[in-house]
Amino acid sequence: MKRKLLSIVIVTFACLFITGCWDRHEIEEAAWVTALGFDFEEGEEPFHVHQTVALTKLLAAGDQTGDGEEEAFFVISDEAESVQKAVYGATEFLAREPKYGHVSNLIVGEELLREKGITPIISYAVRNHVIRPFVWISVGSPSALSVMDHPTGLEDIPSQAYLGLMDHAEESGVGFAVNLLEASKRFLNDKRDLVLPMMIYKDGQIHIEGLAVFHEDKMVDVLKEKDGRGLSWALERADGIISVLSKDEQMVTVNFRDVNSNITVETVEEDNLEINLEIEMTGDITDLHKQNARTILSLKKEDISEVTKDVEDEAKAIIENSLTKVQKAQSDVLGIAEMIEDDFPEKWEEMKDKWGEEYSALPISVEVNVDLKRSKRIK
């Protein structure tokens, strides 16, 4: 008994004082990688991996020692035949062991996605047990490095800025954030295509430019601005804002606070299939503006129906436009193939061989219902 107790005590103390016992790793002895970027390079070593490493010593709150101009991060890059090998290459550059537990963003270069497809990236990220399924994955245009290599306005570490952008993406409405879990689910599903937000660096800031749509594993098109908004609405993934010229040449701006969409595939006129999209949008009129008007404008209650109609028309046009683009790119981001297989299995048997063309040719009917009743600035 005494020996047993003694051995327990000795083991416990040994664990304390032997460095490297099990997984012991002091927080300041690691190089914290916060974002991973993947680019394509012609040649034998096609994978070019960039890692944003936080310079933690510059991040102390209230630390007045730095001159404030130094960047609190640096990017290291390496090329290799495989993604894992290129990531591993970072150990050669770093005096501390790189840690990936706090990676919050994966940024994949547009060129890589168009040339090689997303397969190697997803396969690397899903296999890696340290990278969480909830990291955001996005497209960097024109390359991942072009996005990662710049400091951002508000945050010391760019990945924190990307996080913020992704968190607010649905409010701004141009696109929406996609995490690794969703991306790999869409990627593994044959009857649903991938869609990722696209980030660019412009005018000293990083921002979400639009949505990159995929056909199978390759990126095929980008939906920017209004098109991105239309697709986000169709997928119920954004609120957004819209401005239309309405009653008496007034520019009416509406902020949406709730968007609900319902996509179905139905038969019309002798067995022909049609994609049916119904969207309920609730919003508030937040601005009225008119050329040469010198007063604060207001709308009458009776005018609301007319304004609502104009907003509906505009929203419908935006959505139709973006869906047409998606169809043309043969990117089935809405999961139409899945719906047809479930609801019309016989039809699916006929269509599945040349699904791409069949999908592009499917007619779409969009119905938009806008509710502006709560607007406070009517009267």
Binding site: H25, A30, T56, Q160
Partner: protein, 479 residues
Amino acid sequence: MINNIENKLKSIEVLFGETEDLVIRRFTLREDSHRRAAAIYLEGLVDTEVISQQMVRPLMNDTVQIKSLESLEQITDLITVSETKVVKTLEEMVALILTGDTCIVVDELEGGVIASSKGWEQRAVENPLIERTTRGPHEGFVESLQTNIGLIRSHVKHGNLIFEKYEIGTVSSNSVMIGFIKGKAKPTVVEEVRQRLTKIDIEAVLESGYVEQLIEDDPLSVFPSMKVTERPDIVSGNILEGKVCILVNGSPFVLIVPASINSMMQSSDDYYERYPQVILMRGVRWIALLIALLLPAFYVAGTTYNHEVIPTPLLFTIAATREGIPLPAVLEALLMEIAFEILREAGIRLPQPIGPAVSIVGVLVIGEAAVNAGIISNIMVVIVGMTALSTFAIPQYSFANAVRFLRFPMIILAGSLGLLGIGAGTIVLLTHLLTMRSFGNPMMDPFAPLAPDDLSDSVIRLPWKTSMLAPLEKLRKMF
């Protein structure tokens, strides 16, 4: 028994070992036969005014006509002190003289008269030193058993409030009293207390801490199984709830049994303040308990093993403050905790006038200098400070000490096994607490076994039932 007074006095002196503070005042009785008498007492334990004015003077006074004193009972009629008693044996006399009584012996009469003359220097009833509250009576127990019983009686006016006396100590005996309300206290608990008190075999009991350690359920446990208090209002409240209190002569700390972890987290002002504040106060206290026990351990586990549980911005802040610190987090935490314990211990021992100055040196100068020198990180100072403050938020001092002690094994576990170690340590602690009993009552009462009725006075305290019923009655009348 020898009836010759000089022989008798001699034997008493021998029994006392010829100590210098034994006073024998010889005088002649005012009676026809002019017999010799003597008053025997211990200097320092008695009120000499009482002896000279109320015992010796009436017996010597020539205004009173005494023919002849036939028995000691006649003497008790003459002296005017509040309590008298006739004893026969020398041993009885000695025992009572030791408690501060005076013995009067008369030549040719067997035995002696014991007259109460206790009157040693006593502390007045003052504000309790250890247990402070914002509201409630400003009185604390003192060292005198009689005063303490009086304080309890003044709060609990109940005919069935019973005090039982036990003399404990084979060499120097001391009075230990148990108090409870007959019919309210659980008979099994009362019987258990009696049993355990009679079983005590010790040379002397100097403080209630002796009794506590001699009768507790689990002497090896780090947790106390009794509530200790110096506030009469707490004792009274507990007696009214059906608990048993144990008072020891010479100690202002009273023991209350049975106790539970829940009762140790209660303070008397919980019952004096209104319930919303109390819910906040109690909530804060339980959070403080968790912080005191686990915060340094979680910090060590987070910074050494489980980096992923820390949110990214916090991780960077911690990493930035730890940059350049030569010690691993676990050693840093242990060192700082030990440093704080030294400071606390020194603070208790320091002479009062220099106490504040040294505390300031300890906290500000050493802490600040250590951080500037890069030996310890800022965040560690914050954590140790938080932990230290939290232990003082626990109302029961002995329980806070247990938590303070357990923090160290927790840090070591966190430093060797990470969160897994903290989990293992917590499981062991909870298992221990769940099996622990205080005089037959589970320590985890009312959480386990669950007593839903008692939960209203646990982590939260609901309003008093009467006030809760009032609005209900109003509602009932409306419909």
